[in-house]
């Protein structure tokens, strides 16, 4: 370090440079209201445009977002990834230097003070600039000077590209070099083995000098034998009086204080006057500023730092800045910046923060090519999905942005969504939130076909048994721009003979029933449907060989209104009109269930299948369903409570004037048994699931509406309806889930009981098909992705079996 140029030879830039408030002059003890500008331009992160291996907290954030999005928003992933982070100041800076070509890595590209707006985080995305720098490093010029001499910066040639072999910091006060881990090191954008011109080096020095961190800073080069130069930056750190108070203020949207040039010819009195007015101005500024979001614990922490330190040094201020910014960024205020420290040399340190106030929110539609266009979707439809924190006047928060992204995505109207904060040029410190949307096609139609080969005569496939099947569907979305839609589909497994199993659906959805500006979220849905299901009522108990199946065909109209209270809790009520037809195996209408006689014959005098006893029922009833669901995922495991109550109220309209009240109540609790830390990759807690289901009916109860017991969603270990079909049922279940690696294993016990009400179903199908009416089961299982593999023991027969099921039981 002996080779460091003698002081005075190197080009030195004094603090009293243009960007610094004059009062920063720490040398003059009279300066009573000094202020330090760490960054005057936004956004500012530790300035260094080059890619840096060390990851700062925002980058962690980035990773979190990335993985979350994979789970939640698959469609829009890539676009969002950029969109959210394209804080365009960073963009312009980086692109500027990239295009400029000469600006190698653009260390000082941002200009004085602005100090490379980019940082590790931005530059990761906008790597072109960095790449450009690397490419240029191929060509550099030798210094052409004798080796091992120290050259002042201004003595370097302006036409040469110097390769910097190493960079050293020399603290003049301590008389020692500073390690690379020192915070000052981050301020320099020069990197070893980089290639720089004299202009760039000069600019770098200027940046350092204007940062206010140093009382004095010099840069000189030492020539190496191999033609490269070693750069030494020697400095004197700025220090101020010790402080014992800390204040953090939000100066966003406030005009930057404009320093009045101090006339060097001022008299002592005038100077005093001047300082006093400055002081007053600053006090007024503090008064006008808004309180900041920084919570008291962090403020106390910083105060502690101040007290421990004694004198306020530039390094300390840097540390404070980092801590404050860290808090903001950790809490999602990605645009928050510490812009200035004021009131230095008093007892108080004032940290001025631009938090990133939203001055405007713009919703923009783009066509397929990305050009701005007129959207079909009405603005309020998008607006109501935006969290309040994204409105004008709020502080921009990236989490709110993500929330907006998720909400808008759940509308399923857009193929691409970007939420993009960008600085407001007209309003310094302000943020304009831009929401860019690409709309999906309004109309879509789809035909999918499949051929199936079914066994023909003798089990061999014949030509006649090859069936063309498939689905024809159409959709008209976003009618009138209000997210109304019409959807229709027809499915059959055999187009040549569609009457066999034609399934159709026509649905109209009308959201925002109370108006798009009303916060009440009610959706009207009207549909026309049919379905065909195997009735679990006509199923044999254990040991009963085979019960001839009964198919229940339903076709009808349904209109309901759904009111969403939260994302998961809702109340639905509406009217259902349907025709129910019961058929036997050969699709003939059958009015009674069949049964196998001991002699082997089949008698068709089993329980009646319909209320009218003709095989065809028509009925209209009201249906209401209220769901309360406050479950949430903790490290991928569901925890919380879910209650569902459903009533079907017959109106006495239809065959045999059906009048009934059919109700069921389901209560499920997922009890978290251990508190765990939340986070990606953390282990989920063990969970105890308690489940109860009561179903009952008063009044007319046709067999197809009877409650059945047994099956994967009732009592596991039994077949659908194997336990019984009854008027009132009670199911109880408990399951213990223990996380193992990425999945969980579970043990369960379940019980289903007909409460003696099987005989109250006409024809007593439970007894006719020799079922017990009650049954328990227990078992263990493991979750493998979406599949549950479980071994369940049916308590009635005492035998166990392995089952594979899709989806969750609860």
């Amino acid at each position: 370090m002996a080779s460091i140029a003698a002081p005075g030879l190197a080009l030195s830039v004094h603090r009293s440079h243009r960007r610094l408030t004059p009062s920063t002059a720490t040398t003059t003890t009279a300066a009573s209201v000094p202020s330090l500008t760490i960054k005057s331009k936004y956004p500012t992160f530790p300035p260094s445009q080059n890619p840096k291996p060390s990851s700062s907290s925002p980058r962690n954030n980035f990773d979190i977002l990335g993985s979350k999005k994979l789970q939640n928003i698959i469609k829009t992933t890539a676009a969002i990834g950029c969109g959210l982070y394209a804080l365009s100041n960073g963009v312009s800076n980086a692109q500027h230097s990239g295009n400029g070509g000469g600006g190698s890595s653009g260390g000082s590209g941002g200009g004085g003070g602005g100090g490379g707006g980019g940082d590790s985080f931005w530059s990761k995305i906008f790597s072109p600039a960095a790449i450009a720098g690397e490419e240029e490093s191929q060509e550099w010029d030798s210094h052409g000077l004798p080796a091992n001499i120290v050259v002042q910066l201004n003595k370097l040639s302006g036409f040469k590209k110097y390769k910097v072999s190493d960079i050293m910091f020399l603290d003049r006060r301590r008389g020692s070099t500073v390690g690379t881990e020192d915070s000052f090191f981050e301020m320099v954008s020069l990197r070893p083995n980089g290639v720089y011109t004299k202009a760039q080096l000069t600019k770098e020095l200027e940046t350092l000098a204007t940062s206010g961190m140093f009382e004095k800073v010099d840069l000189d080069a030492k020539t190496n034998p191999d033609g490269t130069v070693g750069v030494t930056i020697s400095f004197l750190e700025s220090t101020w009086q010790s402080a014992d108070r800390f204040r953090c203020i939000n100066v966003g949207l406030m005009p930057q204080s404009k320093p009045i040039e101090m006339d060097p010819d001022m008299t002592e009195k005038e100077k005093l006057e001047y300082y006093r007015s400055q002081e007053k101005d600053y006090r007024r500024r503090i008064e006008r500023s808004r309180p900041c979001l920084l919570p008291p614990p962090v403020q106390r922490e910083i105060l502690q730092m101040l007290r421990e330190q004694g004198a306020v040094s530039a390094r300390l201020l840097q540390k404070i800045r980092d801590r404050v910014q860290q808090w903001y960024h950790e809490n999602g205020y990605a645009c928050a910046q510490v812009v200035n420290f004021g009131n230095l040399n008093t007892k108080e340190v004032v940290c001025e923060v631009v938090e990133g106030d939203i001055t405007q929110m713009v919703v923009q539609f783009q066509d397929k090519l990305g050009n701005v266009c007129e959207g079909n979707t009405q603005y309020p439809v998008v607006r109501r999905e935006l969290p309040r924190q994204l409105r004008q006047g709020q502080v921009f928060n990236i989490e709110a942005g993500k929330q907006a992204l998720r909400n808008i995505n759940s509308l399923a109207l857009f193929s691409n969504i970007e939420v993009n904060p960008r600085p407001d040029e007209k309003n310094e410190g302000g943020i304009i939130v831009e929401i860019k949307l690409k709309e999906l096609e309004q109309k879509s139609a789809e035909v999918s076909t499949e051929w199936s080969i079914v066994p023909g005569r003798g089990g061999r496939p014949t030509l006649a048994s090859i069936q063309p099947g498939g689905t024809v569907s159409f959709e008209h979305r976003n009618l009138k721009g209000l997210n109304r839609s019409i959807l229709g589909s027809v499915t059959t497994s055999n187009f040549l003979n569609p009457q066999d199993d034609l399934a159709f659906k026509l649905e109209y959805v009308h959201p925002y029933l109370d108006g798009v500006y009303n916060s009440r979220n009610r959706t009207l849905k009207a549909s026309c449907f049919n379905s065909r299901k195997l009735s679990p009522v006509f199923t044999g108990g254990p040991g009963v060989d085979e019960v001839p199946p009964i198919w229940v065909d339903r076709a009808g109209l349904k209109a309901n209104i759904t009111e969403n209270f939260t994302r998961q809790s809702k109340f639905t009520y509406g009217l259902v009109m349907e025709e129910i037809t019961t058929r036997d195996e050969s699709s003939h209408i059958s009015s009674r269930g069949q049964r196998v006689l001991p002699s082997g014959g089949i008698s068709a005098d089993g329980p009646p299948t319909t209320l009218s006893e003709t095989g065809i029922d028509r009925m209209a009833f009201l249906q209401a369903n209220i769901t309360r669901d406050n479950t949430k995922f903790i490290n991928g495991t569901i925890v919380g409570e879910r209650n569902v109550f459903q009533v079907d109220q017959g109106l006495g309209i239809g065959s045999k004037f059906p009048f009934f009240n059919r109700h069921q109540l389901t209560m499920t609790r997922f009890v978290q048994l251990k508190q765990v830390e939340e986070g990606v990759g953390k282990a989920p807690p063990p969970v105890l699931v308690l489940h109860g289901h009561y179903g009952g009916c008063v009044g007319d109860l046709p067999s197809y509406d009877a409650f059945t017991l047994g099956g994967p969603y009732s009592v596991r270990g039994y077949n659908m309806g194997e336990i019984g079909a009854a008027r009132n049922i009670l199911e109880l279940a408990a399951e213990m889930r223990i996380p193992v690696r990425n999945t969980h294993v579970y043990a369960f016990a379940e019980h289903g009981n007909d409460l003696g009400s099987s005989k109250d179903v006409k024809g007593n199908p439970t007894e006719v098909y020799r079922r017990m009416g009650h049954g328990s089961s227990y078992g263990v299982g493991v979750k493998l992705g979406l599949v549950r593999a479980e071994y369940a023991v049916d308590h009635n027969s005492g035998t166990g079996a392995i089952f594979f099921r899709f989806g969750e039981r609860f």
Partner: protein, 303 residues
């Protein structure tokens, strides 16, 4: 069956004259007292192999139904009708109700359908005297009968204990043994038929002992007698007539009885109240929970 030509009751002449006289007297009395009783229908039910068919044959005094010692000879119900002096005496023999340790529902169903639109005047519930224990199966049989024909049928029922010619276990007199056995069985019957304690007195079910065996002891006038000396056929008929002459009515087996009361009509009147309850106490409650959830929802730090 109804179209079947009703035979004269010739079997009555097979009985010793004392019995025959007694029977004629009894039947005549019935005709006078119970005006509608131009027919008397007796239903015989019980476990398999206890001697239902034999009892039928004994009463009729002829081999009207096939009897086999080792296997069920009665695959379906059989009605034997005999007319005597203008009145008709029907007796319905049924297959055993028990199969493989359980009440055979199909047999029960068969019986029920056989009995459709017939009026049962007397039910003979048959069991053996010489079994010492009663078990759950007995109760189930009684319950099945009750479920099928209603509780009322037990007002018209007789418990018939066959194989009455037994030597009782040591230390018990014959009368003591029979009364104990019948008491045990009656207890089960009451349990199965859900006859409450208060009702026991009002509807006491008579117990009649029967011995169908050809080795049955006879008295000096050639009547079959029990070890305690009673001539059992007149006694049985007498008890039957007694039961019929009480004020209870015969059980008409119609569609409604067969299917039980229509469960669909039960509680229909209450539906409006149930609905109101559901709205005010269930839906409202859940809505309150949801509101509470919204209020206590953990918000992100930025909200």
């Amino acid at each position: 069956m109804a179209s079947q030509v009703i035979k004269e009751w010739v079997g009555i002449q097979q009985f010793p004259s004392a019995t025959e006289l007694k029977l004629l007297e009894l039947l005549g009395k019935t005709k006078q007292e119970v005006h509608s009783a131009s027919t008397l229908t007796v239903l015989v039910m019980g476990k398999g192999g206890v001697g239902k068919s034999s009892t039928v044959n004994s009463i009729l005094g002829e081999r009207a139904v096939a009897v086999s010692a080792f296997q069920s000879e009665t695959p379906r119900p059989v009605m034997v009708s005999r007319s005597l002096a203008g009145s008709t005496f029907n007796i319905i023999d049924t297959p055993g109700l028990v199969e493989g340790g359980y009440v055979n529902d199909q047999v029960l169903d068969l019986i029920k359908r056989f009995l459709l639109n017939k009026t049962i005047d007397v039910l003979l519930y048959v069991d053996r005297l010489d079994t010492y224990r009663v078990d759950n199966l007995d109760r189930q049989i009684v319950k099945a009968i009750t479920d099928s024909f209603g509780k009322e049928i037990w007002r018209r029922a007789l418990v018939v204990l066959t194989h009455a010619q037994v030597s009782p276990p040591d230390g018990l007199s014959y009368d003591e043994f029979t009364s104990r056995r019948s008491e045990a069985l009656l207890k089960i019957v009451r349990l199965g038929a859900r006859i409450r304690k208060q009702e026991i007195k009002a509807s006491s079910i008579p117990v009649v002992l029967v011995e169908n065996s050809g080795r049955c002891n006879k008295n000096e006038i050639d009547e079959k007698i029990l070890p305690n000396g009673t001539a059992w056929i007149p006694n049985l008929v007498q008890t039957m007539i007694d039961v019929v002459s009480t004020d209870s009515k015969g059980i008409l087996v119609d569609q409604k009885l067969m299917e039980g009361p229509n469960p669909n009509n039960k509680g229909k009147v209450l539906i409006p109240f149930i609905l109101a309850f559901q709205y005010f106490f269930v839906v409202k409650r859940i809505q309150k929970w949801i509101k509470n959830d919204i209020a206590t929802e953990s918000r992100p730090s930025w909200a």
